[in-house]
């Protein structure tokens, strides 16, 4: 059973539909208690960093996530803002504290190419570290769907397992640490390879 964290920000339905399409049993978790009843988690997210962290805190999800991810060690997949929430700090409209699972700052995209807009919206090719289980069966430089204005600047290079290029900026496309995996792109919006990434997550034994 995969739990999708519902903190009222995020395209839950898209993620839910994609997982069900893959034959998995998914459940939308509206309360922190429900996180204890699933064996895999997805943390989606669309919107601003500050609101995301505020919602997670107010609804009591921060403690429940710590319990599930660190004490019980269940695999978790963060998507887009869900990935960014895992950073130490977010610098969107101020300075806000994130979950701190990865030593990183979330900063605004500032592509060198004047022809490129912010946010990055659309398909970009992803280079990943060969052998990463969640990218098994996906060719190098496959396109995934991105839609974001901020990106995660990680202090530890080895946390970043995949990246894409946006106007000269190496944007972390995926990060990984023990039982935590997260993508900046939306696998549930990335056609066949996106579904493959989700499928691999479902079978992942970290």
């Amino acid at each position: 059973m995969i739990g999708i964290v519902d903190y009222e920000m995020g395209n839950l339905r898209s993620v839910y539909n994609a997982l069900e399409y893959l034959g998995a049993e998914a459940r939308i978790c509206k309360t922190p208690e429900e996180l204890g009843e699933v064996d895999r988690l997805v943390l989606p997210g669309v919107g601003a960093f500050r609101d995301c962290m505020e919602n997670l805190r107010l609804k009591g999800f921060v403690e429940a996530l710590d319990e599930a991810v660190f004490r019980k060690g269940i695999p978790i997949l963060g998507i887009c803002l869900g990935m960014q929430a895992m950073a130490t700090r977010g610098l969107e409209g101020g300075e806000y504290q994130g979950l701190g699972w990865f030593e990183a700052d979330v900063v605004r995209l500032q592509p060198e190419d004047p022809g490129l807009h912010v946010p990055q919206i659309g398909w970009n090719d992803v280079r990943y570290q060969q052998g990463t289980p969640i990218f098994e069966g996906v060719p190098q430089h496959a396109d995934f769907y991105f839609v974001h204005s901020y990106y995660m600047k990680c202090n530890r290079e080895r946390d970043v397992v995949a990246s894409c290029d946006y106007g000269g900026i190496s944007v972390p496309a995926a990060i990984c640490r023990e039982n935590i995996f997260a993508t900046q792109f939306h696998p549930e919006k990335s056609q066949d390879y996106g579904l493959k990434v989700l499928e691999n997550f479902l079978d992942w034994t970290p």
Binding site: Q120, G122, W123, N124, D125, D143
Partner: protein
């Protein structure tokens, strides 16, 4: 490198067949005439199979008929 997106547009209009009413896929001629060309859902599935980057659903009479997004079709 960011790719250009190719986004098919699906134009829909309400069509009446006797007492039956449903959304049909249309194509327009010089923005005046509309020709019914099929079913929006079937065509959307074809575009999805052809790996369309995104899809745009346009309900041509929504404002006039005061209609909200047809979530059931989307």
């Amino acid at each position: 490198m960011l790719k250009r997106r190719l986004i098919p547009k699906l134009q829909m209009r309400r069509s009446r067949f006797g007492t039956l009413e449903r959304m049909v896929l249309v194509t327009t001629v010089q923005f005046r005439e509309t020709l019914e060309v099929g079913d929006p859902v079937s065509q959307a599935k074809i575009y999805q199979a052809q790996a369309a980057d995104e899809l745009i659903f346009l309900d041509l009479d929504a404002s006039e008929d005061d209609r909200e997004t047809m979530v059931n079709i989307v």
